[in-house]
Symmetry: C2
Subunit: 171 residues, 2 copies
DNA sequence: GTATCATGTTACTTAAAAAGTTACGTTAAC
DNA sequence: GTTAACGTAACTTTTTAAGTAACATGATAC
């Protein structure tokens, strides 16, 4: 299924993760899935996506369901069913994807009370939240400047560059 | 202890929090404490700081200990002991404070595998991590552009502005 | 010197949210 | 009607700071 193989020859679905961090990886995972969906014309099942992401179909359905609500993908049941794109990836920015996920909490850092009565505390919170807001804006801007189609294009360039370095053996 | 009172007349140590989020609030809390330390010449005990922050002395010691390691504050034991500044707040940037805390994990978002073999997955991760890195840089730059002394100055301006609006009642 | 105050440190529990898992109902293709 | 696939609900696991409790150590006051 994984159309882009590394030079080791393993597809993404065979890679075992030893990750143990419990950070929110939905954005990068979904981007990965969308790119695969853009490279095929047949629906991909939750089970196959689960193998790509090293997780189980139920979690895939839960997350892909958010994309369906946003009109980015659709799904069909039954034989030959699965997930497929509803939008052109060239028109789909990474910010759109992040928004479709519900703009998940970006920061592990925050401020203490909402509107403290201590003016010094308020100043501390304002400064902290201000820096976080500036960072969030930068994050969103960076996401908005790229489409999922751009990512595919970059991957193709990488492959071409690799092939140019290492010519295919002909026998 | 709280030198800057709001117009309600409550000091920070009397405010009850109903917060339940478990985000890392050490940066804003420590900024708050540092400003108070800058406004007095006597050491402040962990117990008093705990009341300021609506938490307990043990947690205060744990967190303030990170600042001591960075040379920002010192502490003395026994009667009249507590925490006091080792540096001029005007020379202390918010980035210094963040660094003293060990640059705590900034994001709740991450990417999946470290170096996936699937090129599409790698592309997804690169894009995600790139946006996060840009955001982190913006965060650090914003912190570096301000000193804790600046925050105090801002608070003083606010107080002056408030007093200008609402003259003190004289009898 | 002893009582008290305060830090230093360790060990444990709590809380939040995504991830991970299990189970089962529903729908579509064959 | 059997099988494949999504839809959904309920539950457990994981991670980390926060929160808590306890006690040793050191410094001041008397």
């Amino acid at each position: 299924m994984c159309l882009y193989l590394s030079h080791e020859g393993f597809s993404c679905m065979l890679v075992l993760l030893e990750e143990t961090m419990r950070t929110d990886s939905r954005l990068s995972r979904i981007l990965h899935v969308l790119m695969h969906l853009g490279e095929t014309d047949k629906p991909i099942t939750s089970e196959m996506i689960g193998k790509m992401l090293n997780t189980n179909p139920s979690l895939v359905r839960r997350t892909m369901g958010l994309l369906r609500q946003a009109g980015i993908v659709s799904s069909t049941k039954g034989h030959g069913g699965g997930w497929y794109l509803e939008k052109q990836l060239a028109e789909l920015s990474l910010a759109d994807v992040y928004a479709a996920l519900g703009e998940p909490k970006l920061f592990a850092i925050g401020a203490s009370g909402d509107t403290p009565t201590c003016l010094l505390e308020r100043s501390a919170n304002t400064a902290t939240l201000g820096a976080l807001d500036a960072a969030r804006q930068k994050f969103l801007d960076t996401l908005a400047a790229q489409s999922v189609g751009d990512l595919i294009k970059q991957s193709r360039d990488e492959i071409a560059a690799y092939r140019a370095r290492t010519p295919v053996e002909t026998e």
